[in-house]
Amino acid sequence: MNRYSIFSLLRNAVNYHQDWQRAWRSPDPKREYDVVIVGGGGHGLATAYYLAKECGVTNVAVIEKGWIGGGNTGRNTTIVRSNYLYDESAGIYEHALKLWEGLSQELNYNVMFSPRGLLHLAHSVHDMQEIGRRGSAIRLNGIDSEFLSPAQVKEMVPFINLDCRYPVMGALLQRRGGTARHDAVAWGYARAADDLGVDIIQNCEVTGFRIEDNVVTGVDTSRGMIGAKKVGCVVAGHCSVLASMAGFRLPVESVPLQALVSEPIKPVLDCVVMSGSVHAYISQSDKGELVIGAGSDLYNSYSQRGSFDVIEETVGPVVELYPIFSRMKMLRQWGGIVDVTVDRSPILGTTPVKNLFFNCGWGTGGFKATPGSGHVFAHSIARGEMHPVAEPFSINRFNTGALIDEGAAAAVAH
């Protein structure tokens, strides 16, 4: 692998960049792998990377039906934070955040993780109670969290309309939260995994599982059967489709979640601002566009679209909170299919089929978990039992009732 650095960039510039190698190979699938990861999103690629890097399992393939990073990894609003309410959530998201903090160096790929600070606005007494509780829980989990007064919010975002419908009463700040460059995450993991021998196989759709005596032995794909000792499914919005191929169901609904960007402008907004009550999520990317998360439609869909009224209901709050953006223009809107669980927490774990593992249900907020999720999932697959951080997220909780109900408690998703 070419190492990336300013020196390699200089060296290659001389030669008009003719000598750069492929970031990852494009191999034909082998007949069998120790582990097949289905789904070449950030989570799948990270899983493969950590399998190879930390678990010594290098005979690994990542099977992607389209192009890597083309699922939700490539279409999310890139918000990274770890300020979740429950200990279990804080555990996995903070695990991820710690990995984010050194990820560019680890992967030798600049994923532009940018801890520019993340605000959650509170607009009602109820919101204040919610951030009060969450802020306190986060701090006690050893994670940074601060309360801000409206005046302090105004200092960070001078043009915010504090006195909007549902006035801003306060905010919760996680300074270590921020954004990262979504595509680079997929590419960086792919490149690093490939370098460790992982085969990344694109344009290859898994169409079924080979299961013998309730043990998975391989996957059928659009490019033929591929044998596998273990299979990890990390297909986000498509998890129910894969589960049904393996003969079980999931407590998941796949719904469209939309986002939009404005035209690029010079820096005006230097932190991420989220609000549940005046429903808007906004940040400004390094390229200059305002990146705005919309709500999800409530109906199931695999169309990667959504309804226009969701866009109206997203831009409305943006203009309410930031009246200066009224003359800004929407450049592009798009949708992804998110796999939403009832408790808004992910599912990681074993399944009714032996050696078949699922990692899904990240819904509207799994980008931030990418490194952590891949890390603990890799360890779980390699060991055949769940990593302690992943343990609480077993699918069994929907039977026992041990939900990790981030949705009920916080109603903040991203």
Binding site: S240, L250, N399
Partner: protein
């Protein structure tokens, strides 16, 4: 933006409605007879199909009636709307291959 046929009021804009998830999930007659897994399945687990989906909608800004819709989750095409209690329709909806949503065949 869907155009949904309320079985009573007729075709209306999607924004008059609210979706309520998968249809045809009957509440178990005797919940106690179900083991934890079966009960969990009823409460939380869904088909979530890629393709034909039978789902509930309510005409919330109209007649406030719940009804069922048969929709393809890939194309978002609605094949049929029908009243609760009516049998699940199957494809094709009509003999000539069209459907009941008023979408002309071409």
């Amino acid at each position: 933006m869907l155009l949904i046929e309320c079985p009573w009021c007729g075709q209306r804009d999607q924004t008059e409605f609210h979706p309520h998830g998968e249809a045809h999930i009957a509440r178990p007659e005797d919940p106690d007879a179900l083991d934890e897994a079966a009960w969990g399945d009823y409460v939380f687990f869904r088909k979530n199909p890629k393709g034909l989906h039978y789902e509930r909608w309510v005409h919330s800004h109209g007649c406030r009636r719940w009804f069922n819709v048969m929709r393809d989750t890939v194309t978002d095409h609605i094949h049929a709307s029908y009243k609760p209690g009516d049998p699940k329709p199957e494809l094709p909806i009509t003999a000539d291959g069209g459907d009941t949503t008023g979408t002309p065949k071409t």
